[in-house]
């Protein structure tokens, strides 16, 4: 048990170290969602005048989006890093040790969670600095960070699954637009009940990403909306379980060692 824990720790440390040493790829996943949020918040501020809009600050409304968008970037980074390990044979090096497959996954995800939490803190600081009032208070911040960690695990495991399945960083980059579809066809820019186009509202309603965004949003602008929080954690947990199962299966096949 102690060996597994130290293996997980070593692999997580490697994951974090690699990211820290690549500022060119570490910074955009933080800056890009923030830039987009600030631009969108300014550009869509007029929307707050629509009857039924839940807040008079579009920035408060939009602040939830970077948490999920950042998680998507985590998917790509996790997947690309693991795909690179497969392509250059580093995974074989790890496979030759007494490392368990579960330790590899846990180590990768451990690193992703650390990075996800760093991203979440940055988004929070930007939001607070821009004057957003956190309706659920300090306890809500802790709940939000826990949620961010859970979402990171789910999306990170998805990235690992894609990497293990395809073994190719290019294939993962090619899948990125399709992951973004889930983000855009959601309640990212408008509350679901205010979306005017019927089919779009339907798609946003069945899209799990809407509930992830709404969970974060409710903590920021409503306070303690139990239903929104439960749905958010529920979907995040389900995504996590499915992704982990897929990743574990793909890892077993990829390692193929006796």
């Amino acid at each position: 048990m102690r060996l597994v824990a130290s293996q997980v720790g070593a692999l997580a440390l490697r994951s974090v170290t690699r990211t820290a040493r690549q500022p060119a790829s570490a910074i955009p996943p933080i800056l890009f969602p923030v830039s987009l949020m600030l631009v969108n918040a300014a550009g869509l501020d007029a929307s707050t005048r629509l009857p039924g809009f839940p807040t008079d600050s579009f920035l408060a409304f939009a602040l939830a989006v970077p948490f999920i968008q950042g998680a998507l970037f985590s998917t790509m980074n996790a997947g690309t890093d693991l795909a690179r390990d497969i392509q250059n044979g580093f995974l074989n090096r790890l496979a030759l040790t007494s490392m368990r497959g579960s330790a590899l996954l846990a180590g990768q995800l451990g690193g992703i969670v650390v990075l996800g939490l760093v991203q979440a803190v940055v988004y929070l600081v930007v939001g607070l600095a821009a004057g957003v009032d956190f309706a659920s208070g300090p306890l809500g911040v802790l709940v939000l960070l826990a949620f961010a960690a859970l979402v990171s695990i789910g999306f990170g495991a998805l990235g690992c699954f894609l990497a293990l399945r395809t073994g190719s960083g290019e294939a993962i980059q090619g899948l990125f637009p399709f992951l973004f579809v889930f983000l855009f066809l959601s309640s990212m820019n408008a509350p679901r009940d205010l979306i005017g186009v019927d089919w779009f509202r339907f798609v946003a309603t069945i899209n799990p990403v809407s509930y992830l965004i709404e969970c974060v949003r409710s903590l920021i602008i409503v306070g303690w909306d139990v239903q929104a929080i439960a749905l958010g954690f529920g979907f995040a947990g389900a995504i996590g379980l499915v992704s982990l199962a897929l990743a574990a299966g793909a890892l077993k096949e990829r390692l193929a060692r006796t």
């Binding site: 830039s35 869509l44 501020d45 929307s47 005048r49 066809l185 005017g196």
Partner: protein
């Protein structure tokens, strides 16, 4: 006419690469459609904001932005290809073989334009199918597409200048981010008069705002800023053409 021989050769090869590589072709078509769907579909309620008085409707309002965005990014995506060519060494082969090297840049620009025309056709068909209204006449519509084509040209000339200076795929973000930012600090979601705060000031100074407003006005049949927009677009093309040709000289000097 050696420059045209070189340009046509480079353009043909670039277009063939795109056409036969789904990983390159599909995103360049899907992304604009996707943005169009997300903005026109997901934000249609914005047209109900008091003071939003664009007659053709929100679908047309967003179509113009997405068309210009696709034109600009179409140029940038072709720029990625140039960077890849330098990284793989293929560009060196082109420089050695071409009797007129300006033709190389022209060839890439031609390829970007053809590629974008294809995207524009797909986008237009989809927009019309979902009920986009066009109140402008044939000359207005032609003018709007011509404006977008100039933006496409400006995009490829900007990106090619970056690609030839850096000569690596790692320059992708350098090509992409400024274009992204300048597009999104324009009146993307609402007309300029409805913007408030810092973005109102920035958008007022942003040259692309006038290109966008002129395009939208031509689709509405109520032209505003058209001469100004074309001047800006031609100015961008001229400026980035110099940028690109200087980049070519740098690439030549680097060997």
């Amino acid at each position: 006419m050696r420059i045209w021989d070189v340009a046509s050769g480079v353009a043909f090869r670039t277009l063939k690469n795109v056409a036969t590589t789904p990983a390159i072709l599909i995103p360049s078509i899907m992304f604009p459609l996707f943005f169009f769907t997300a903005f026109a579909g997901g934000l249609s309620q914005v047209s109900r904001v008091p003071g939003f008085d664009y007659e053709p409707g929100y679908t047309t309002f967003q179509f113009c932005f997405v068309l210009i965005q696709s034109a600009a990014f179409g140029g940038v995506f072709t720029g990625f290809g140039i960077a890849r060519d330098f990284e793989s060494g293929f560009a060196r082969r082109l420089l050695l073989a071409s009797p007129n090297r300006t033709g190389i840049v022209l060839g890439y620009a031609l390829a970007a334009a053809v590629r974008w025309v294809f995207t524009a056709i797909v986008l237009t068909v989809v927009a019309l199918a979902v009920g986009m209204n066009v109140f402008g006449g044939p000359l207005d519509v032609f003018g709007m597409y011509a404006l977008a084509l100039l933006i496409n040209l400006a995009g490829i000339l900007w990106a090619s200048g970056v690609a030839m200076r850096f000569r690596t795929m790692q320059a992708g973000p350098v090509m992409q981010m400024p274009v992204f930012l300048i597009l999104f600090v324009a009146p993307v979601y609402v007309p300029l008069p409805l913007l408030t705060g810092w973005i109102e000031g920035v958008a007022t100074l942003n040259p692309l705002t006038y290109v966008l407003e002129a395009g939208r006005s031509m689709l509405a049949g109520d032209e505003v800023h058209v001469a100004w927009a074309f001047s800006i677009a031609l100015g961008l093309v001229g400026g980035f053409a110099l940028w690109s040709l200087r980049g070519l000289r740098r690439a030549e000097a680097a060997g």
